[in-house]
């Protein structure tokens, strides 16, 4: 295992320490339980937006803490949901009296742990609403599975609902907007290599030199199918077709296209794929009016990428364009 770390068990805490040192103006960290909050939290009378999940997907979620996005992020161990007490402590720290919206990716562990935290916080009189993101079209049969996974859509949702909260929307309105994003967002990913979890020490799966994994999640769970390497053109098609088929994006629809690196895929390849995707969508009459390209929801040092498409309306577009100032996303 090749990593720049000290003890594998301390990786998350050590990284948080470094994050705090790197962004003294933006972030405050709390250790044991671990969470990250924006320096000016709690912002009174603002809905607090809190998310979290296993570590290893950075910048998600800790890199999105700041004005216009998350009030707090709660990182678990690598690829492991955080525990309810940590989430509860973070909620306490950032709730400004207007209630808290929890953004949860749909994995059994996250759902169960955040559910418990929500109950605990509600028991303390904090208004809590939850949105569960489940945008991964690679999971086809959601009755025979734990349901669709939350992947790239989470980034877009956190940005948009964070802007709504910053603008003063109340908890019900933030929740409605979050549900609207969740309803209109779809993703699909692929991997060329597997990541190595520090406390495991070897790659999460074995992939031959000529193979790629299509429909992979962000925990390096094996994907929909394993096929031979193909050209960028063909890969883009393999990812976008199921997305378009799943949510009927129609001719003339306005969408945000998010081209995401799983970690180790460099900007050249990502931009290349983004360019192919823009042409692919233009040919089908889907109008891309906003874009995000970069490593925003990753799987450690996995090589691979994902696309996310979000249907925009005027309100969502305005919220997307609204200012944001976080370590990983700023405009």
């Amino acid at each position: 295992m090749k990593k720049i770390i000290n003890a594998p068990a301390d990786v998350v805490t050590d990284a948080l320490r470094g994050m705090a040192a790197a962004h003294p103006d933006r972030l405050r960290i709390h250790l044991d339980p671990d969470f990250v909050v924006r320096t000016d939290a709690p912002v009174s009378d603002k809905v607090a937006v809190v998310s979290g999940g296993g570590s290893g997907h950075e910048p998600l979620h800790v890199g999105f803490v700041g004005s216009g996005m998350l009030d707090a992020a709660v990182p678990g161990a690598v690829f492991t949901s955080p525990t309810p007490d940590a989430v509860q402590a973070a909620i306490r720290e950032v709730d400004g009296g207007a209630g808290t919206l929890l953004v949860v990716k749909n994995y059994t562990g996250d759902v169960l742990n955040f559910e418990t935290a929500a109950e605990l916080a509600a028991g303390e009189g904090i208004g809590v609403r939850t949105v569960v993101v489940q945008d991964d079209v690679a999971v086809q049969d959601s009755t025979n599975t734990a349901g669709r996974r939350g992947v790239g859509g989470t980034v877009l949702l956190e940005k948009i609902v964070g802007a709504a909260a910053e603008r003063g929307h109340d908890l019900a309105s933030c929740h409605e907007i979050a549900e609207r994003v969740s309803a209109g967002v779809r993703s699909m990913g692929m991997a060329l290599t597997a990541p190595t979890v520090p406390h495991v020490g070897e790659p999460s799966f074995d992939l031959a030199d000529y193979e790629m994994e299509i429909g992979v999640g962000i925990h390096a769970e094996p994907g929909r199918e394993r096929v031979e390497l193909e050209s960028a053109d063909r890969i883009v098609q393999r990812l976008l077709e199921p997305i378009l088929a799943d949510l009927p994006f129609r001719e003339g629809d306005e969408v945000l296209l998010f081209t995401n690196s799983m970690g180790a895929t460099p900007p050249t390849e990502l931009y290349l794929a983004h360019g192919v995707a823009e042409r692919f969508l233009a040919e089908r009459g889907v109008r891309v009016t906003r874009r995000l390209v970069g490593p925003y929801i990753t799987s450690l040092e996995m090589q691979g990428m994902s696309f996310t498409l979000l249907k925009l309306d005027d309100e969502l577009r305005q919220l997307w364009d609204a200012p944001v100032s976080t370590p990983a996303l700023t405009w």
Binding site: V78, G109, L112, E221
Partner: protein, 211 residues
Amino acid sequence: MSCTAREVTAAVRRGAEVISVHRDELVELDRAIGDGDHGENMDRGFRAVLAQLELADPPTPGAVLKLVATTLISSVGGASGPLFGTAFLRAASTVGDAESLDATAIAASLRAGVDGVVARGKAEPEDKTMIDALLPAVRAAEESAGRGGEPGGTLATAAEAAEVGARSTVPLVARKGRASYLGDRSAGHLDPGARSVALLLAAFADVEGAE
């Protein structure tokens, strides 16, 4: 014969030991059909339990089980944390303030634990989860207790049933948890959570049998 707080504590310590010894095996099982953290999660949780047991000396079996529950909930994370946590929490409630547990109480606490896991995780039998080890275990425990078995014997029967139940997950296609994303590719592998259940029950039986 019945188990006091001392014996339940000893059983939990032994469970922690066994999980630690099997950490890498559980990682490997989870790597095959999940995300590879199960061994680390359980080991982290039970190490935390051991640490808590150094600080506190819970006076009743129920208090021990409650300490295990809250510690697992606040240290394991993932799917297994809330599920094992709930199981121990429900078991603790069921035994209440009793000074010691006989076989019937043990079977009842197991039943409550399993019901808790089902309530939270909504898994059905043959979904390839820890339920497939837990359900046969509780049935075997109830039967043994009904026949007037001792705590040690009851736990031993439960452990054997859990072991068989865990092994029965191998051919199954997962329908809950992370392994479900693999579809048919999940068949042919042992469910890590079910394996943990079998390991824990065997450890508990070991200690109680030795008393």
